[in-house]
């Protein structure tokens, strides 16, 4: 059984078919990448999987459960984590708190616990902070815990975005163009980080434009164009696919 599956997923905006009948199966433990020209529907597809858009038709199945109609926060609880193409950090909160928010759905303390400062709450907070510190270390943000998110460099903000998503303890992590705007050095560490994330047992679903990155780390690739899947396969298969060359990679005449 595939970890994440979509069946005939479709959505249109004002007559434009942004995503059209996309079938996808992501297996546990792989790095699966979606490529395609700008505007091909990749981010829209992500938003369908994470619940930000409601599909016109089709289903999203995660761990065998139909989650097509679940709210985004509910999907996160079930184990779908995501990063954003345009950074959506909590800019006026500290790095530590950004990551702590990621931990939200794995903690239990409620309003009463917070106001009364029960020992359970205090313990949970301490454990949570420890866990988050480890994650910040994992993405290489040690020593930045008390910085405001907005004061980080762009590359660091991107890493915090990933750390925050990891804090939700996902089984599958959706990364939307994590490499965009990164310099060479950050790019190298990102490539490494994605592989280390997979090594933690987390499945990775990636949208990316940087072809060298995509080709080097993906197990499988799906190519979208005009909201439709035009190809799927290993990097080598995709690279030689006529339709892909025509639509995306470009063809020599």
């Amino acid at each position: 059984m595939a970890l994440l599956e979509t069946q005939g997923l479709s959505i249109s905006f004002g007559g434009v078919h942004a995503v059209q009948g996309v079938d996808l199966q992501v297996e546990k433990g792989e790095i699966f990448t979606i490529i395609g020209p700008n505007g091909a529907g990749k981010t829209t597809f992500f938003n369908l999987v994470t619940g930000y858009y409601k599909a016109n038709s089709g289903r999203v199945i995660f761990k065998g459960d139909d989650i097509t109609h679940l709210a985004p926060y509910h999907r996160t609880k079930k184990g779908i984590g995501r990063s954003f193409q345009v950074l959506m950090l909590f800019r006026d909160m500290t790095v530590l708190d950004n990551a702590m928010v990621g931990l939200h759905c794995r903690l239990k303390s409620n309003l009463a616990g917070a106001l009364l400062r029960t020992s359970a709450t205090v313990r949970e907070e301490a454990e949570g902070r420890e866990k988050v510190r480890q994650l910040l270390h994992f993405v290489g943000l040690d020593g930045k815990e008390h910085e405001m998110a907005k004061n980080l460099s762009y590359g660091q903000q991107k890493r915090l975005d990933i750390a925050r998503a990891l804090a939700t303890d996902p089984e599958i992590l959706l990364l939307d163009e994590p490499a965009a705007g990164l310099n060479t050095q950050d790019l190298a560490s990102l490539t490494d980080m994605i592989q280390r994330i997979r090594d933690r047992g987390i499945t990775v679903l990636l949208i990316e434009h940087k072809m060298d990155l995509v080709m080097s780390i993906s197990d499988r690739i799906m190519v979208l164009n005009f909201g439709k899947k035009i190809a799927e396969g290993t990097p080598d298969e995709v690279r030689q696919n006529e339709a892909v060359i025509e639509a995306y990679l470009g063809k020599e005449e």
Partner: protein, 244 residues
Amino acid sequence: MLELKNVHTFYGVVEALRGISLTVNEGEIVTLIGANGAGKTTTLKTITSSVRAASGEIHFDGKRIDRLPEDEIVKMGISLVPEGRRVFPRMTVLENLEMGAYVRRFDRAGILADLKKMYALFPRLEERKNQRAETLSGGEQQMLAIARALMSRPRLLMLDEPSMGLAPLVVKGIFDIIKEINEAGTTVLLVEQNARMALKAANRGYVIRTGEIVKEGDAKSLTEDPAIRAAYLGEKVYGKGEAQ
């Protein structure tokens, strides 16, 4: 005609441009290619003064323009077709075109003549001139955005990713129009992610990566450059960990 000398631009803490220098000569089609987030759009925005350069100089027709307000730049004859088309959604096609001619709004006769020209170039726009722009298809919106930019009678037309989100056939149509416009005497600076299409249309090209120009040359030599073929044309066989 247009010259950027060591231009640096910041977005907050991010240094988006790290010393860009490039030239566009009269009558050319020059393309600026690069990946997402490399600084292509910022370069254009810096030229139009939407974003101020932190340092460096920009000259147009020998005049320094990097301290001019945006409307002066348009009046000097530089026009930008923004990324994502950005037509005014709740204005009609005709009104969009009129906005393109805003800086010469008192030249009624000239505008009427230009409208005729645009309708000749893009017959679809005439059919839909009284429709709201948001009801147009993506390709039609791109045509409208180009026509709108031409309405200011620019001598330099800059286009930011005109192929974005459009079907290959439509893209081909757009590129044919760009060549046509160029042959009619307008200089073109074309920013593209679709490197192959762009290099095919252009005379010369620049490759931008993380805010720096990493390569320049005539279109043919760039097309044949193995590193570019690997990075932007997706041809080389990639080994693991070869990410640059």
